[in-house]
């Protein structure tokens, strides 16, 4: 009650965080209610009106197949949200589980997980994602899995560090002294206390995941056409940059706005949840 109130007060202490939340909600609306917000069918080609600049009919012009760029950006938010949020959930859950196991059990479990994590982190992220795309394929669900799996190592490492700090705290020993089993101690006392930093980092990584997906689409390894993906739109528009700059540049603005909003919101969440800033003493 008072805690929830204090949390929201801390979260929106900086006005920009509220603005960021509004931007996120706006894009979320675009994704959920795309048909209502878009002005055209995003797949409808009009070969007589290709690569047109912004006009009253086409707010952001048309692409190389005469499709409405504005409507495609609106529909593109669906891909961004799906990949951004679900991939982070996948990597967050898997990473938390692996990190918890490595941190709590230590020993060879830790060694195996840690080396595997470091090995995956030594491969440049885009190359790793490309390799995973080759394995999983390019449908939207699979792409989400790819983005999720490729950031599992970072989450696992982070969680492991968290567990190591919490594991040695007195209240964990207290739980064992009170007769709780390892499992109860882990679930009831260690996990909840590692979760809030994980939630912060998960929020902060949504933006990065959206960026990475856009990069993959730009390379032509994203969702298969004709689906509207922001990265692929920039890539298509690049070829026609001199004739129609709005086609290549406007999807990028959408990426920046949404990613920035998620990052700022994540920072706000960190400031509000960070136990060091909360009056625990």
């Amino acid at each position: 009650m008072s805690d929830t109130k204090r949390f929201f007060k801390a979260l929106f202490k900086r006005k920009i965080v509220a603005v960021a939340l509004v931007v996120i909600i706006f894009f979320l609306l675009c994704a959920v209610a795309s048909p209502l917000i878009a002005t055209h069918d995003p797949y409808e080609q009009d070969l007589f009106n290709i690569l047109k600049g912004p006009s009253a009919e086409h707010w952001l012009g048309t692409d190389n197949l005469g499709r409405d760029v504005y409507s495609r950006i609106i529909y593109g938010s669906r891909i961004a949200f799906t990949v951004g949020i679900f991939a982070v959930i996948i990597s967050g859950v898997l990473g938390t589980a692996l990190g918890l196991a490595a941190g709590y059990f230590g020993g060879w479990v830790d060694s195996v997980i840690s080396r595997l994590v470091e090995a995956m982190m030594a491969i440049p992220p885009i190359v790793l994602a490309l390799a995973l795309v080759a394995i999983f394929g390019r449908s939207l669900p699979m792409l989400t899995v790819v983005m999720g799996v490729s950031s599992v190592p970072a989450f696992a490492r982070m969680m492991r560090g968290q567990v190591l700090t919490v594991r040695d705290l007195d209240y964990v020993a207290a739980s064992r002294i009170r007769g709780n089993s390892n499992f109860v101690t882990m679930v009831k006392h260690i996990l909840p206390n590692c979760l809030s930093p994980m939630i912060i980092v998960m929020t902060q990584s949504i933006g990065g995941t959206i960026l990475a997906e856009a990069g993959l689409s730009f390379l032509g390894a994203g969702v298969l056409p004709p689906a509207a993906s922001w990265g692929a739109m920039v890539s298509d528009g690049y070829t026609h940059l001199s004739r129609c700059p709005s086609f290549a540049l406007s999807p990028g603005v959408a990426v920046i706005l949404l990613v920035l909003a998620f990052n700022i919101f994540g920072d706000g969440l960190r400031d509000a949840l960070d136990p060091r800033l909360r009056g625990s003493r």
């Binding site: 995956m120 440049p124 190359v127 080759a134 730009f218 390379l219 920039v234 990613v259 700022i264």
Partner: protein
């Protein structure tokens, strides 16, 4: 210190072994017959079997793996059917541009990032802090391919100042090389600059709150001396551990940058190899790139162990 480094060295070897296993498995994990996947299904069965055999795919897995690793260590990375050349010569030809761009942008991101980070921390709450922090936030949120498109649009198409594509080695034509490299290096470093700025800032702020900074103040030192002599060195130690990954990120980003600026480097080899299902080039490429990252990490560990007396004197 020796013990720490020795431990890191053995861990690195272990990591490389794991990576080689992962890369090796790729060919067997990806659905479908690897030879048909590489060469298309319209080849004759005899040719298929011949390639299958020459790649050693009919050997037991463990034997295949050791043959591949053995060859790799001797510098024989196999023949790429897609690029129509040995992977070793391919890498020798395509890696240098990527490395030059990667190293340049890594240097730029580290130097500018640290500088901005220190400035924002020292001038906390002042206008310059706000401006740089906002810029850093935008920098992190900007897709590098979009930045590349924007730069090309402004500097090549509109202002006609810089060439929009290509790569020339500086020793071939220095002026042209520089002109061609400005935009790629800028794009590749923006993300790095932005994240180093943020991380250095928070590290500096943490150090400034430490007891020994209070001690330094209580001795009557000037604020500028406190920053220079007492704060910066401590703040950079945690940053150092991040630097090892800079080159990795730059090289990863090079896949996008090479496409945007039409540079034939290692990044585009990886993209092409993937779309052409050229597993031979892919496997070796992954191990090679990971090797570079591991070497960087090891160098950083050495620097770290040296910079922090707590580890050096262990």
């Amino acid at each position: 210190m020796g013990r720490f480094l020795l431990k890191r060295f053995f861990q690195t070897i272990l990591i490389l072994i794991i990576i080689s296993i992962l890369a090796f498995s790729l060919i067997h994990i990806i659905p479908g017959d690897p030879v048909y996947a590489m060469l298309g299904t319209d080849i004759s069965p005899e040719y298929h079997d011949q390639v299958y055999h020459s790649m050693g795919l009919d050997l037991p897995l463990v034997k295949q793996y050791f043959r591949w690793v053995g060859n790799f260590v001797q510098g024989q990375m196999g023949y790429s059917y897609h690029f129509k050349e040995d992977v070793s010569t391919l890498v020798a030809r395509r890696l240098p541009p990527t490395l030059i761009l990667g190293i340049l942008s890594a240097v730029v991101s580290v130097i500018l990032g640290l500088l901005f980070g220190i400035i924002t921390a020292v001038r906390r709450g002042k206008p310059i802090d706000s401006v740089l922090t906002v810029l850093a936030n935008i920098g992190i949120a900007t897709p590098i391919f979009w930045l590349a498109v924007l730069l090309v649009f402004v500097f090549s198409l509109r202002l006609k100042l810089l060439p929009s594509w290509g790569f020339t080695f500086p020793w071939v034509d220095f002026g042209r090389s520089m002109k061609q490299m400005v935009m790629p290096v800028l794009c590749m470093s923006v993300g790095g600059i932005a994240s180093y700025t943020r991380q250095t800032r928070s590290s500096m702020l943490e150090v400034i709150g430490q007891d020994y900074i209070r001690t330094a103040r209580s001795k009557g030192l000037k604020e500028s001396q406190i920053i220079k002599k007492h704060a910066v060195k401590n703040a950079l130690i945690p940053i150092l551990t991040l630097i090892g990954l800079t080159l990795r990120n730059s090289i990863g980003g090079s896949a996008i940058i090479e496409r945007a600026f039409n540079i034939s480097g290692m990044g585009s080899v990886m993209v092409e190899a993937l779309s052409a299902r050229d597993y031979v080039a892919l496997q070796s490429g992954i191990v090679f790139l990971a090797l570079i990252t591991c070497v960087c990490n090891l160098l950083v560990d050495i620097a770290y162990a040296y910079a922090d007396p707590r580890i050096r004197l262990e």
